[in-house]
């Protein structure tokens, strides 16, 4: 049964109520220590007891789908199970209490972990060096873009200012390229959902700095002309970048470095099982070939005379991309994940992810045809199109799935597929779950024929009914105290 609406913190506030207390200091700031004009006059935060706060957030959590509670088949997001051991390890006092400017002699444990993790990621990807600093995939992309720019400059090829990106790519690719000062040139996809080789050739040239690809691509398909694309790209003097969001299909299956990629980022919050956190924190390590290693952001972990140390300077580095070292909590989890599975386990992960995706694709073929009907990798892109759908949209299918207790797949993406449903089941879901999901999808397809209005009004059983996004954008209400919601403050 849906829970009642949970009031805002501000509406629960009661003047004088307390949660945490601190000891009173012997002395308060004197006027000469803190002049009046620098002092805060009012602080309107909610006033709550600890139980108020615990109940509030526990109730909010009950209105949220997570992997721990629901199947989340979001394509390109790899919402696999997040092992509890890894959370526990990241909270160990030896990591958690470590100040980031601690001197390096007192850091040998964590630096060893970073050093090993970089080595493992190199082996997994066929790369020569990694930086663990990027906080998320897009942050890794930005670092890669800046490296590409610095690399071409160092070769006196500053005229290379274009980045070729397929029209099926994640939005972060063009956004990162633009942030790095490049011009984005889109490449068309062909009817097989792959890069259109002719279009690619026509756009490749002396101005091309970088070719950014996703493998498998966002249709879940292996870019089967990749070797030719890499050869042409390199011949033209460009670098090849891999958006590694879909690495869950590739571990032990192939090494991207061997396909010809010069740089790639990974998403630890996808392939390496760190919890997504409702939108981060993540981790976006960036791997490069030897010839690009000197451009990596600082600091770098190095091993000298049996001890680990952080190197802060290098002549060619693009500089620093964040404060301190990286999202260490994510790195500890990723380390533990790889350590648990080992090489054989990781290959089994990718094989099973691909098996599961193909199972869904084939079993749903009749109701939801694939955009490209051939074996997929770790995800498949299906469509809700045709006369039997009675004007029901993919959006409606997604909302109705929530009623069946499933999170929705990624929808309307990639942009080149009309009414797209991008489904990634991951290796950690059981066959029973997949079968239940198939059943729900089939029932939805049936409802489109028998009672389409039921789909258009979905969801029916969630905590709120369909949310009005248009009003949210037209009259933005982005905080309490302005109009509604000031409550007890």
């Amino acid at each position: 049964m849906p829970l009642r609406a949970e009031p805002l913190l501000s509406e629960r506030s009661v003047r004088g109520r307390r949660g945490v207390r601190y000891p009173r200091p012997a002395r308060l700031p004197a006027d000469h220590e803190l002049p009046a004009h620098l002092r805060r006059r009012a602080l309107r935060l909610p006033e709550l007891s600890e139980l108020d706060v615990v109940r509030h957030y526990t109730r909010l959590s009950q209105k949220n789908f997570g992997v721990d509670t629901h199947f989340i088949p979001l394509g390109s997001c790899t919402m696999k199970y997040n092992p509890k051991l890894n959370d526990r390890l990241s909270f160990l006092p030896g990591f958690q209490n470590l100040h980031p400017l601690t001197t390096q002699e007192a850091l040998q444990g964590i630096l060893e972990l970073f050093f090993e993790l970089e080595k493992w990621l190199c082996e997994l990807c066929g790369m020569d060096a990694f930086t663990l600093q990027p906080a998320a995939g897009a942050h890794g992309e930005l670092a890669g873009i800046l490296i590409a720019r610095a690399y071409h400059r160092s070769r006196k090829e500053s005229a290379r200012v274009e980045v070729l990106i397929p029209d099926s790519a994640h939005g972060t690719n063009p956004a990162s390229a633009a942030l790095g000062g490049f011009t984005v040139i889109p490449i068309r996809s062909n009817t097989r959902g792959r890069v259109d080789l002719e279009d690619f050739k026509s756009k490749l040239g002396p101005r091309t700095a970088l070719v950014m690809l996703t493998v498998p691509n966002t249709l879940g398909l292996f870019e089967d002309e990749i070797l030719e694309i890499a050869r042409l790209g390199h011949e033209a003097g460009a670098l090849l970048y891999l958006d590694g969001a879909n690495l869950n299909a590739l571990m032990g299956i192939l090494k991207p470095g061997e396909l010809g990629f010069d740089l790639l980022h990974l998403n630890l919050h996808k392939t390496f099982s760190i919890p997504h956190g409702g939108g981060g924190p993540g981790g976006g390590p960036l791997g490069v070939r030897k010839s690009l290693e000197d451009f990596l952001p600082m600091p770098r972990v190095v091993r000298e005379k049996g001890a680990y140390r952080l190197r802060e300077n290098s002549k060619k580095t693009i500089g620093r991309i964040r404060s301190f070292f990286g999202n260490v909590g994510a790195l500890v989890r990723a380390y533990a994940y790889i350590r648990s599975l080992g090489g054989t386990g990781l290959r089994q992960v990718s094989e099973t992810a691909v098996l599961h995706a193909n199972y869904l694709r084939v079993r749903l073929r009749k109701e939801f045809p694939s955009f490209v009907d051939e074996p997929c990798m770790h995800e498949c892109v299906l469509q809700a199109v045709g006369p039997s759908w009675n004007g029901v949209k993919t959006q409606d299918v997604a909302k109705r799935l929530l009623d069946f207790g499933f999170y929705a797949p990624t929808i309307y993406f990639p942009l080149i597929v009309p009414e797209a449903l991008m489904i990634e089941p991951t290796e950690t879901e059981s066959k029973q779950t997949l079968d239940e999901f198939i059943e729900a999808m089939r029932q939805i397809a049936q409802e489109a024929q028998s009672c389409p209005e039921r789909l258009r009004a979905a969801p029916h059983h969630t905590h709120v009914r369909r949310v009005d996004e248009v009003q949210a954008a037209r009259k933005p209400n982005l905080r309490w105290g302005r109009g509604e919601g000031g409550g007890g403050l």
């Binding site: 805060r40 006092p93 082996e123 906080a135 952001p297 209400n477």
Partner: protein, 444 residues
């Protein structure tokens, strides 16, 4: 491990697909590159084995009694913070794109934005960025977009050196002229220099308050001088200090950013942390990152949803206000829980306690022969101590005694060879301060 599929289920699935083995599903991959083997990876290990191994690595870091700040602060974290934030429904959720199935996370983000606005004194706030340094970089990018014809950025030399490095990396390929604003001998930004250097070519002025050396800045004067020339003022601040200090937004700052780590997020060797970002309503459509809004569902019930997404990369692609996608939502949740537990009185008490302890420590250290405070300017919980010997040497000796005796400044500021940046928070008792001072004296 973590794969539930049994051999017989696997066979059933293969049969349904119509292939004989899993390998057949990989035929589009060039055969010579298929299944390369992963010899450099460790063998699989059980939970106990992995636990022992990683615990040994954690214990390979020597615990030190921390008197350092410099952008990361050792504050006590109330037990409820992560007990709630790590609930699986929050921690294992995706970005709340399906609003109806994510009302919990969305309401929490709306509340986070509200709390951040109140704390920073801004009209609007986003749902988080990576960290304080990247938040400052994003604010500069926003200012440059707002003023496309202005290419100068004035920055105070009191800004955290790592933040400066970060924002220069972010803007490496944009045509920007970086103009430093030196500090006075009192440790604060030179306002005369600011007035001289301000012009109609300046897109924004960057200030940190309290600054890197712990000194409190004249925020209001900097903001007013900037806006008189049409430049945006961007202030980077320290949330716990705002329990006592007037918020930069109220002093006229156009954008306020902060490293949110001090709000219940562990030190964890530098991350994950939390970038806070607040600004004026007028700049709403230029804000980077996600924003959550309150709206209604089709029955009129209060609901929450991610909004103004036309700014973001998944819609706007190369014309987005930022490339950020995954941010630090769970840390934003933790910070909200922290602020909700403390409330206005708790945050004020925490700030007062930090202020008191830092000033107490400063007075004690000043009494040691040969030591003196470098600046007489008001400070919050951090200050520069000039030592009678090179700071690096003293720092090393103190480490041998189990202390992290602040941060040596000479790697960033070579002239400050004898200076330590020290910090006192509520986690170091008065007794520990006494022991620290005694040890420092012995280490001379």
């Amino acid at each position: 491990m973590f794969v539930p599929t049994t051999d017989s289920e696997k066979r059933e699935m293969l049969e349904a697909i119509g292939v004989d083995c899993v390998e057949e599903l990989f035929q589009s991959i060039p055969p010579s590159l298929r299944f390369p083997g992963l010899r450099g990876l460790p063998p699989p290990a059980g939970e106990l084995e992995v636990f022992r191994h990683v615990q040994a690595l954690a214990e390979g870091n020597r615990p030190l009694r921390c008197f350092a700040g410099a952008g990361a602060y050792d504050h006590y974290i109330p037990s409820a913070v992560w007990a709630l934030a790590m609930r699986g429904e929050f921690a294992t959720a995706y970005t709340p794109y399906q609003a109806e199935a994510n009302q919990g996370a969305l309401q929490a983000l709306y509340e986070f934005q509200s709390l951040v606005c109140e704390l920073l004194g801004t009209e609007v706030a986003n749902a988080s960025l990576y960290d304080g340094a990247s938040a400052l970089a994003e604010a500069v990018l926003m200012a440059l977009r707002h003023h496309p014809e202005r290419r100068k950025v004035l920055y105070s030399q009191g800004i955290h050196p790592q933040s400066l490095q970060t924002l220069k990396t972010y803007a490496a390929n944009l045509e920007v002229e970086w103009v430093p604003l030196p500090l006075t001998p009192e440790g604060t930004t030179d306002l005369n220099q600011l007035r001289q250097k301000l012009s109609e070519e300046v897109a924004c002025v960057l200030l940190q308050h309290p600054n890197f050396f712990g000194c409190l800045e004249e925020v209001e004067e900097v903001c007013h001088a900037s806006s008189a020339q049409g430049a945006l003022s961007v202030v980077s601040t320290y949330p716990v200090a705002l329990g006592l200090l007037r918020p930069p937004g109220e002093c006229g700052a156009d954008a306020v950013v902060a490293e949110g780590q001090s709000l219940g997020i562990p030190l964890s060797f530098g991350g994950p942390y939390l970038g806070l970002f607040g600004t004026r309503q007028a700049l709403l459509r230029r804000i980077p990152g996600r924003i959550c809004g309150m709206t209604a569902d089709l029955e009129g019930s209060r609901s929450f949803v991610l909004t103004l997404q036309a700014r973001e990369q998944h819609i706007r692609r190369e014309r987005a206000t930022s490339n950020i996608c995954t941010n630090e939502a769970l840390c934003a949740l933790a910070a909200s829980i922290f602020l909700a537990l403390l409330g206005p009185q708790g945050l004020r008490e925490l700030a007062e306690l930090n202020f008191y302890l830092a000033h107490r420590l400063a007075r004690r250290l000043e009494r040691l022969p040969g030591f003196r405070l470098r600046y007489a300017t008001p400070f919050f919980n951090e200050f520069v101590l000039d030592c009678p010997v090179p700071a690096g040497k003293l720092h090393r000796k103190m480490r041998a005694k189990g202390y992290l005796a602040g941060v040596c400044l000479d790697p960033w500021f070579p002239k400050l060879k004898n200076s330590l940046l020290l910090c006192a928070t509520e986690t170091r008792t008065e007794q520990e301060q006494e022991e620290f001072c005694a040890e420092l004296k012995r280490c001379l």
